[in-house]
Symmetry: C2
Subunit: 521 residues, 2 copies
């Protein structure tokens, strides 16, 4: 038998009298009780079994408002999408004892894998050296589910799945989402993604039409622009400061939108990376988020909240010689220290939040998840069923063994605190190197509060060849000079929301965690 | 040091004088020499390193014709797609010793995985029982690449990758493709996919416009129709016989296409599953494929060859009491026994072939690959860079360890022969059960030569309630009756290429490998 990963309780509403350890405060040890959980039907864990994330939530949301409908924003593709009829036929497999003679599911007998193990850190001993020394080996067998050894196994994970992902890991991310964001509306749901790049791609294929213009930071994640552009969608950059998007500027753009002059209907979609934004490293404060959310309500704008760096929020920056701020003393203090998400203030259900394991566990897992209203999540997973399908089952099994069966929610929060402190150290190192070596007379920057990026402005007007040489030429020359000196930085111009507009700023982006060496590649 | 997975030779054209074991005939044992390979630059294997599959091919293709261009068929989305500028910046990482201060790559120090192992079959001892007994445990370490223990490791596989996949596994699939199909044109390339459902989705987003009609079997894979429909693409079903698509019928449809009557431009795209087609189980003979290819040339039709079941070709069916045909005696006899692919006769480069590990290794890996001309493959992987990204690196690492480092090409062919014989046995069992229990007076079928599907026709005209009840109602009633008897079959009507047309046939689909039990789910 596997260690019990949680106490299962029959009814969520009926836990008041039961003393169950709280995952936020419970002491952390291997095999500890990780939280309260509803009893799950065994059929929940089977091959390609459908699941409903509403059942994984522990709090009751019945008293909260229902999400608004978004079909008025959806394009033809999304509106006529029906989903995969064969996957829907899977519901008949719920009949006890039924033998499926249909569908293209291979027998697990022909998966050439008997066992998979991973060696991972013990909670509290997270460094590479410690993991090498004292790491724990976790094993997934082929038929653990049938043999009652685990809720997940090779036979299940290595077969086909639902577009929404395996119930096993989907339960875990739903619980995590509830614990961290506790969305203020009734019908929020989660579905897995194969990463947030795909999540953005699929969101645009749901909400945009060729010719649309959508909003984003004036310097924005270039892959987002490159995802949108071929769909005929342009990006209108909203002015930013060191806290990212400026609400008044966004309101102004929307209030004065001239359909004829702009050649596009008024934007109904905002793409934003609120925390440790790529490329600027800017983090929107709670107040800023609330103001931006209000602007979105006023103009009926739907929000794509792309948050890969949410858990790369660092300790406050205290300067070169000041003592460090002590780390969070408990899980709840840690969670309280995080800037609240749009999802956590989303009374309308107008946010599609994209989460990802890429920056905090492993980008190669290609696993993320989407949280949004039931309507949007169902559209998303139906699209997944006929395109991306589910994330790799091998990845899902590996993450399930680590997150659900080994660390649990409490251990994962400990890991995130560890990562927070590591990124804080790296940021402080980069900042002190910059202070020491970079010419302050022409360069300026703000210490990043989150994420991977250090965004440095250059006063190009002080360049001896300006204005004889253009900003672009000066940027190019500096870029190549830095390469000659053995470092690769990113050019600010690569991140223009709209490259066709004129720009009067010059930035370079460095990496807080910069460590990829050419020779190691 | 890892076992040498191949002899590396400096120049492909210069191997004539060297005696190197041929992977098709070499005796099979663990750590054997798996084939000839070009020497690869070590930078080839680094994190997110770009690769060119032309360099992985062993034969010379210089004397062969170049593929035709297909930009005249591509839609606006494909034509304006540029790709991911940040991934292109990765080229500067080739500079020895350079330190990357840009991009969003996390440090592998923060991947909480020290080691991954899989227990897999020894070559020749492939059954589940044997694997349990005598399986081999293969290990991937975190820094095997830096420590010269392997060409692939956790630090690399668990980080970001290129949309085309990791060079390590991409080399393997390219070699496999060359060995099996040896395409007859110069500039063929491979790129990884996250499975053929996504491959089809991405092909349609490259080659179709809303309002288009494309060709396929009149009973076709329903997920394909459900992928196409929301894009505004309808499917025109081409009549079939037990060998699938009928060339004359297809020629007739194309020759007499009336743009006004059909409300769509003449089809320029064929989607076909040539081997063990889903749902009919039909396999096109070599002659049939050549005739269909000619029709496609005549009408300038581009072919999407979706071949998940290619290696589920079975031994000839000899009937209930006749002796079995002896299994292939060598790898080359095995390969010769396979119906040649469209790719192998594709002198124009007009085929996009979709291969997948789903039916022969594991669907949960979400790994497949695309073979097509350089033009098409580059468009595909640029699209992947801003949508699906690469297949899971965890899956890629697992398959690389199994296929490249453990089995090699020869061992994989042995595995495929094993699967062939297993599917042959299962098919024969299903066929003898059908012969014994099903009413031949109203039911008919042909023994499938490949794939997972057994396609059974019902003479609905003999149903007592016909014509009082419609075909659909009769189908529904039989479907529910079969469920009452504890088996799930698929309804033929779920597979109509065009559900709006009238249909005068009634089919059910069974599964050759049928074994998913409701109670195990």
């Amino acid at each position: 038998m596997a260690p019990p990963s949680a106490i299962e309780v029959s009814a969520v509403t009926d836990t008041s009298g039961i003393t169950i350890p709280n995952p936020l405060t419970a002491p952390v040890k291997s095999n500890e009780i990780l939280g309260r959980r509803k009893k799950a039907n065994r059929a929940q864990w089977g091959t390609a079994a459908p699941s409903n994330t509403a059942n994984f939530r522990l709090n009751s949301y019945d008293h909260k408002p229902k999400a608004k409908r978004w079909d008025h924003m959806m394009n033809t593709e999304a509106l006529i999408r029906k989903g995969n009829s064969l996957k829907e036929a899977a519901k008949f497999l719920g009949t006890p004892g039924i033998i499926s003679l249909g569908g293209g599911l291979p027998s697990s007998e022909y998966f050439p894998f008997e066992e998979l193990t991973i060696k991972v850190p013990k909670v509290g001993h997270f460094s590479e050296a410690e993991t090498k020394e004292s790491g724990v080996i976790i094993t997934a067998g082929k038929h653990d589910l049938a043999e009652n050894k685990s809720n997940f196994d090779i036979a299940t994970a290595f077969n086909y799945g639902q577009g929404s992902g395996a119930a096993q890991l989907l339960r875990w991310v739903t619980e995590h989402t509830e614990m961290v964001h506790d969305p203020p509306y009734q019908d929020w749901r989660c579905t897995m993604s194969i990463g947030s790049t795909s999540g953005t791609d699929m969101a645009l294929r749901m909400f945009t039409r060729p010719g649309d213009v959508m909003l984003s930071e004036e310097y924005t994640f270039s892959a987002f622009v490159e995802t949108a552009r071929p769909m005929g969608v342009r990006v209108c950059g909203v002015p930013i400061d060191s806290q990212g998007l400026l609400p008044d500027e966004m309101d102004h753009i929307l209030s004065t939108w001239d359909v004829n002059a702009r050649g596009a209907r008024k934007p109904h979609l905002l793409y934003t990376v609120p925390t440790g934004q790529n490329p600027t490293g800017a983090t929107q404060s709670a107040e800023r988020r609330r103001a931006l959310y209000k602007v979105c309500q006023k103009h009926d704008v739907y929000i794509i909240e792309d948050e890969p760096y949410y858990f790369l929020q660092m300790q406050p920056y205290t300067g070169p010689n000041a003592p460090d701020v002590p780390p969070p003393s408990s899980h709840s203090e840690f969670l309280r220290s995080l800037v609240p998400s749009y999802l956590s203030m989303d009374t309308d259900g107008r946010v599609m939040r994209l989460d990802s394991f890429s920056k905090v566990i492993s980008p190669g897992s290609r696993i993320g998840w989407v949280t949004a209203s039931q309507e949007v999540v169902e559209k998303y997973s139906k699209h997944a069923d006929v395109s991306t399908q589910n994330p790799s089952g091998i990845s899902q099994l590996v993450l399930f063994k680590l997150l659900d069966e080994h660390w649990g929610h409490a251990g994962y929060l400990d890991w995130l605190i560890y990562i927070r402190l590591e990124y804080t150290k790296r940021r402080d190192t980069i900042l002190s190197a910059c202070a020491k070596y970079l010419p302050r007379e022409v360069m300026s920057w703000k210490p990043p509060m989150a994420g991977m990026f250090h965004w440095m402005q250059i006063d190009f007007t002080k360049h001896p060849d300006y204005p004889a040489k253009s900003i672009e030429t000066i940027e190019e020359e500096i870029f190549m000079r830095v390469i000659d000196h053995g470092a690769l930085v990113m050019r600010g111009s690569w991140f223009y929301a709209d490259a066709d507009e004129e720009h009067h700023t010059l930035f370079f982006q460095g990496h807080v965690c910069g460590c990829a060496r050419g020779e190691d590649r």
